[in-house]
């Protein structure tokens, strides 16, 4: 059974002439981590909110764990758990209060709720702050409380909308480990993130969304093949002839004063010498998911564009 199956899912918000999400068809397999990657406003959260029964679609269909997310929302809600984007815990409540009470609200008895609360607070290293009100915790700790609430629930499908935003590198890894544990128990996850490393480490499948539409979908391996070359060279923009660079492969303006040339290993030496001759700084590295992302959607207002 598919965890999520959307067909031509479209959302047009009232008063807006542009669709926030347009004709999106996605299939998320069970017991997998499916990641939506996209820039701010690309439509990731809109998709998550419709799948999580928080928002009505304008057009199209979406089923979650075999239930129609529009007509059978009640059944869907029994089986899911969410971390909302930019959510905040309640100021006066401690991490323990949030998780323990939430588990009881979700129907767990006190004994199991206590065990699960202890377990997740340990995993996310919140145990030492268990009795400290959220108002006295750092932004990262607050975010971890929301993640703990979602992960502690015995759900079949987890929606994580930018769950590690604002977390330090160590905390991010704790959250990743908890997410992987959750998946190992057979759970499915729909994740949205801006962090490419997070997507690379966690995802079984990725969809890149841009301006409300899916522009690419597949495994990390599949997505890397979108760029035919296997190497990239970032070189300072000044004084280089773009047409000349294009003879080595694809060229993307990163918008940060550098041009990114996707090329083959055989051209590295030649390009490096070219940059050295002109005294231009450059870096060489293998193609990453970040490159694929910039290659597909990097032609927007940040200044980046396919050169």
């Amino acid at each position: 059974m598919l965890a999520i199956d959307s067909e031509r899912l479209t959302k047009r918000y009232k008063g807006s002439s542009i669709a926030a999400l347009n004709d999106v068809s996605i299939k998320v397999e069970s017991a997998r981590i499916f990641t939506l990657l996209g820039r701010n406003g690309a439509g990731k959260t809109t998709f998550v909110r419709m799948a999580a029964t928080q928002l009505m679609p304008t057009f199209g269909s979406i089923s979650v764990l075999g239930y129609d997310a529009v007509r059978q929302a009640k059944q869907v809600r029994q089986l899911i758990s969410v971390v909302p984007q930019e959510g905040r815990p309640l100021r006066a409540l401690t991490p323990w209060d949030h998780v323990y009470n939430w588990l009881q609200i979700r129907g767990e008895d006190k004994k199991i709720a206590k065990e699960k609360t202890e377990d997740i607070l340990q995993k996310l290293e919140l145990m030492q702050f268990r009795d400290r009100p959220a108002m006295n915790l750092s932004g990262g700790m607050k975010q971890k409380i929301l993640v703990a609430m979602a992960l502690a629930v015995d759900a079949k499908l987890l929606f994580l909308d930018e769950p590690t935003i604002g977390l330090d590198p160590v905390s991010r890894r704790q959250v990743w480990a908890a997410i992987k544990d959750w998946k190992a128990k057979g759970g499915s996850i729909l994740l949205t993130t801006h962090y490419m490393d997070e997507a690379e480490i966690l995802s079984d499948q990725i969809a890149i969304i841009d301006k409300g539409s899916v522009v690419a979908e597949g495994t990390i391996h599949d997505l890397r093949k979108i760029i035919p070359q296997n190497t990239r060279i970032d070189v300072a923009k000044d004084g280089l002839d773009i047409d000349m660079l294009k003879s080595y492969g694809s060229v993307v303006d990163t918008g940060a004063g550098t041009l990114r040339v996707f090329t083959f290993e055989s051209s590295i030496r030649e390009l490096s010498e070219l940059a050295l001759k002109r005294n231009l700084p450059f870096t060489v590295s293998p193609v990453t998911l970040d490159d694929v992302f910039v290659y597909l959607v990097g032609n927007l207002e940040s200044g980046g564009q396919r050169a």
């Binding site: 909110r49 999580a52 758990s81 959510g87 006066a92 609200i105 929606f159």
Partner: protein, 245 residues
């Protein structure tokens, strides 16, 4: 305990009792405001208007605590986004509403207890205590349901605060809540019977032995209050926005 009831109590515990345990001063601050108008009316009328002022203050407090639910809900929805967590869970909108309404009631309990005690002190017999409690529960429930309905349609916290302040004036200041209904001309008097707070105030005035109009009766008051309660709960259940559109 049935799950929705347990859920409602747990929501009230989390948002009410735990908050008060860690911020006990907020109990004092939320208890003081219903007495401000009572104090002014008591002073300027040399105590002559005390009974009307007590009935009015109790009604105004109930409207305030009920509608404050709307502000809480707007806050949890737009600022904390915590409502999204509840929407995507087995908690129903009515359970969520009940939980937060109970929480608001906790904040209002000291003021409501003192005002109800003043109603008894200023003329109500102990036999009228069930009537006073019924009036309190009916008005608090219907105002909570209305607060929930209104706030669910508000996209911004500021809108919610403005609309709720406006509704507060419409329900607790303009109708004969603080003053005798006999002061109104006939046309406005009959119009005021369409407002639930008029009946709540008349029921309290009646319990304190104040004269009530010949065309009004306790049964009429109950009927209107119950009709409003059912109407607002149905409105909250069917027309409040839980899943956004």
């Amino acid at each position: 305990m049935m799950l929705p009831v347990r859920q409602a109590f747990l929501i009230a515990y989390s948002t009410g009792i735990l908050w008060l345990r860690r911020n006990p001063s907020s109990l004092f601050f939320s208890a003081i405001s219903p007495f401000s108008l009572l104090f002014v009316l008591f002073v300027i009328s040399n105590g002559q208007y005390s009974q009307f002022a007590i009935a009015g203050s109790l009604v105004m407090a109930l409207v305030g605590y009920g509608l404050a639910l709307g502000q809480d809900i707007s806050f949890y929805k737009t600022e904390y986004k915590i409502q999204d967590v509840f929407v995507a869970s087995p908690v129903s909108p009515l359970t969520y509403m009940m939980g937060l309404a109970l929480s608001e009631l906790l904040f209002g309990l000291p003021a409501l207890t003192v005002l109800a005690a003043l109603v008894v002190y200023f003329g109500a017999s102990v036999f009228n205590i069930p009537l006073i409690i019924a009036t309190i529960l009916l008005l608090w429930s219907s105002m909570s349901a209305m607060g929930f309905f209104l706030s669910s349609h508000m996209l911004h916290m500021r809108n919610a605060t403005q609309v709720i302040s406006f509704v507060n004036v419409i329900l607790a200041v303009l109708p004969p809540v603080f003053y005798p209904i006999a002061n109104l001309p006939d046309s406005l008097r009959y119009l005021s019977y369409a407002v639930p707070t008029t009946h709540a105030s008349l029921m309290l005035q009646h319990s304190m032995g104040l004269p009530t109009p010949a065309e009004w009766s306790l049964g009429f008051g109950y009927a209107v209050q119950i009709a409003y309660l059912v109407g607002f709960v149905v409105l909250a259940k069917t027309k409040a926005i839980w899943r956004e559109t």
